[in-house]
């Protein structure tokens, strides 16, 4: 469904990604693991059209999308869900969700998706009228994911969904992601090194110093010595 070929990305003079090639299949959850600051977020942002200097090729559903800006990719069905959430603080939860359906493709499904999303996140239903800036960390994370769902995208890039959350909330978030996946969305997510990821992800990549150092199924990852070391090292 989505494929990058020898992707390189730069921030100014900094060469962040080196020849990264990954792929995500239809209805699959792929996870990118790796230490902090080694380019995981950059990879997601590059795919989603949020990085200006990119070399290499990205294709989505067989179409070349390299260099396509984020606001257009949303319409194509690729949505980015940010780690720092990128919500609209002075708007209500409901308005945030409605804006999630801004793109042309999502607009006709706004009502249907809204109902679906609120069912999925009962907590947001309760806080519908509240300003986004008043939400707790976990709620904001949920709102970000919910807003992403509103876009009706088939392919969701989720940046560190569990970052800074308490363990019970983490489980809740992962369950929701699993549920979304079951409903037919392909998901590429980035995490640092959470053991639970093995249960969620169909395929796991390891990104270190801007390079892919491991690729395999969850099972293979579990058997990999190098990964184990990192998992245990946490």
């Amino acid at each position: 469904m989505l494929q990058t070929t020898e992707l390189n990305a730069f921030y100014g003079q900094f060469h962040v990604l080196h020849d990264v090639s990954i792929h995500v299949r239809e209805q699959e959850v792929a996870a990118i693991l790796g230490p902090n600051g080694h380019g995981k977020s950059t990879l997601l942002k590059s795919i989603c059209g949020l990085v200006d200097q990119v070399q290499g090729a990205i294709s989505y559903k067989g179409r070349d999308i390299t260099g396509r800006p984020a606001e257009k990719l949303v319409n194509d069905g690729v949505i980015y869900i940010a780690e720092n959430r990128e919500l609209f603080p002075e708007m209500s939860v409901l308005e945030n969700l409605k804006l999630g359906a801004y793109s042309k493709n999502a607009r006709p499904f706004e009502k249907k998706n809204l109902a679906k999303v609120l069912e999925l996140f009962p907590r947001l239903e309760e806080r519908k009228k509240q300003l986004a800036s008043t939400l707790s960390g976990g709620e904001a994370r949920m709102l970000a994911i919910a807003r992403g769902l509103m876009s009706n995208a088939d392919f969701m890039c989720i940046d560190e969904p569990s970052l800074g959350l308490q363990p019970n909330l983490r489980v809740e978030v992962f369950n929701i992601i699993k549920e979304i996946n079951k409903q037919g969305k392909s998901i590429l997510l980035v995490e640092q090194n959470i053991p639970q990821i093995a249960e969620l992800a169909d395929r796991i990549y390891m990104l270190e110093e801007g390079r892919i150092t491991f690729e395999g199924t969850a099972q293979e990852a579990g058997e990999n010595e190098h990964l184990k070391e990192i998992f245990l090292g946490m």
Binding site: C48, L50, P69, A70, E71, K72, V74, N75, I79, Y80, I81, A82, E86, L87, F88, P89, E90, M91, E95, K98, L99, G100, Y102, S103, A106, R147, S151
Partner: protein, 291 residues
Amino acid sequence: MLIEYADVFISGLTNGSVYALMAVGLTLVYGVSKAFNFAYGSFYSLGGYLAWVLLAGIGIWGGYISVFIIALPLLMAFGYVTEKLIVAPLRSRSDWEIKVMMITLGLALFMDNFYQVAFGSRMKSLPPIVDGVWDLGDIVISYQDIVILVLSVSGILAFRWILNNTRIGMAVRAVAQNPEGARIVGIPKDRVFAATFAISTVMVGAGGVLLAQKYFVSPTGGWDILVKSWVITAFGGMGSIQGGLYAAFILGMLEAFVGYWFGMTWVLFALFAVLLATLAVRPQGLMGKWG
């Protein structure tokens, strides 16, 4: 005594409503795109001249209603094209904020002198929208002031409604609050920038149409408007429409009462004194936010 204060109060109210209409556009553009438009006063004059051309030049049928129907879309188109042509290309440059100020200053110089060359340096007067006064015995209010008050307040309310209830309005607020977040949900940022510029041009241009019949139009008449709008937006907090509204009425009142108690020469001092005092306590203005 009370009667006089009521009189001054009404004067302050009229000032305030005019300032509010003027300042909202400036604060909007700054809030959304961080661009400061120095040609804002010239856009005001543009509205006035458009009205003059339509009414006195062409002698259009239907009076002010036709003027608004024709002028507003023209102003909107003008604002949109201006943003696309001269502001948007600068956004990716270093020092772009200074460069936007410079280029709009150049545009202001160009426009003001274009008016002078095309229409002459003399002021142009327009027929009043309505004539007559409302005589309440001790207090007299001209219908003209009432019309200006009502139209500018409803203009602002309409604008707020658009901002809160329409798709484009939500997009504008989204970009103002979080440009990156707006991109992520698929809002075309550049188009929103241009759209806000267009909306602000409409607001100030409509102000020009509305005020030309009271204050006349002249080539350099926009500077006063720019300065006052600037003070108001800074006082209220740049980018905060609510703050701008409060600031407009507070400063309108301040102007009227300082003028009454101390004399007109002190108005400017008082405006800046209040502004500086406010900024010393709240560097972001009454209701502004950093960022």
